[in-house]
């Protein structure tokens, strides 16, 4: 299982709540802060959020996150069968 490493973010122009959330490594909270202001979260933040789910997955699922029609989508893909 891949360990999750927190990437470095350029937080220029981010909502204050998102900055605060990220200081405590709360990726969900940072995404929610963008969504609460009807702003699109940066893809890098979504990628880090999904990577953390993948690293924490006990079922071997891999996670991806993307924006689609103004929505965040979290995609959980089943492990490939032999």
């Amino acid at each position: 299982m891949a360990a999750f490493q927190m990437p470095l973010f350029d937080m220029t122009g981010w909502p204050d709540r998102a900055v605060d959330a990220l200081r405590s490594q709360d990726l969900s909270g940072a995404i929610d802060a963008f969504m609460a202001e009807q702003r699109v979260p940066p893809q890098m933040l979504l990628d880090a959020w999904a990577a953390r789910q993948t690293a924490a997955s006990k079922t071997g699922h891999t996670y991806k996150a993307m924006m689609h029609l103004g929505r965040v989508r979290l995609i959980a893909e089943a492990p490939k069968k032999p």
């Binding site: 990726l27 969900s28 995404i31 929610d32 969504m35 609460a36 009807q38 959020w49 789910q53 997955s57 006990k58 079922t59 071997g60 699922h61 996670y63 689609h68 929505r71 965040v72 989508r73 979290l74 995609i75 959980a76 893909e77 089943a78």
Partner: protein, 203 residues
Amino acid sequence: MAFIPWPNGVKLCFEFATAGSIWQTCFSVRKSAGPPEDTDLAQIADDGVASWTSTLKGWLTEDTLLGAVRATDMTAEGAPQHVNAVNETGTLTGAGAPLNACAVISGRTAKRGRSYRGRNYISGLLYSDFTNPVTLGSGLMTSLAAWATGLQSALDAHGYDMVVASQQHNGAPTSPAELNEVLAFVVDSKSDSQRRRLAGRGT
């Protein structure tokens, strides 16, 4: 409509009541080898209850009761079913979102088109798990995805696949149903509405 058999198929339904209003969400399951026996139905229902206990229970309000988990053999009309009575509520306290505000878990197969996508509506959510009136919080999204994938993984370990059962083609019934394995679950950040009419309404 005449009964449509699902080859080796089982319908796994979670039957809820939120403040007395009944709703349910159902997954389609297929035994990997051969038709399901009574022991398979019991195992599938047990996997459903275990997924409730480990994940879903912690994301629904205490107003929301899971009455039962029901596994129905769909290979023939009048085939057996197995019911696990649960009678437990969710654990969250606080204001619940209105019952028609749902999260949607979409099951994706290798094929495109509505016949090949599953949709599971989850209600009984806590309002503070939304970031605004239309948007689900990312923690809620993650947990619902984890619930679906955890259930898929538990079923897979016992020899069952989660599938999408397609019973119609171009508006006409197809018999038997076409079952396609779910390869990915997608949870969307926008809240949706249950399209199925709630029991006791509109009469």
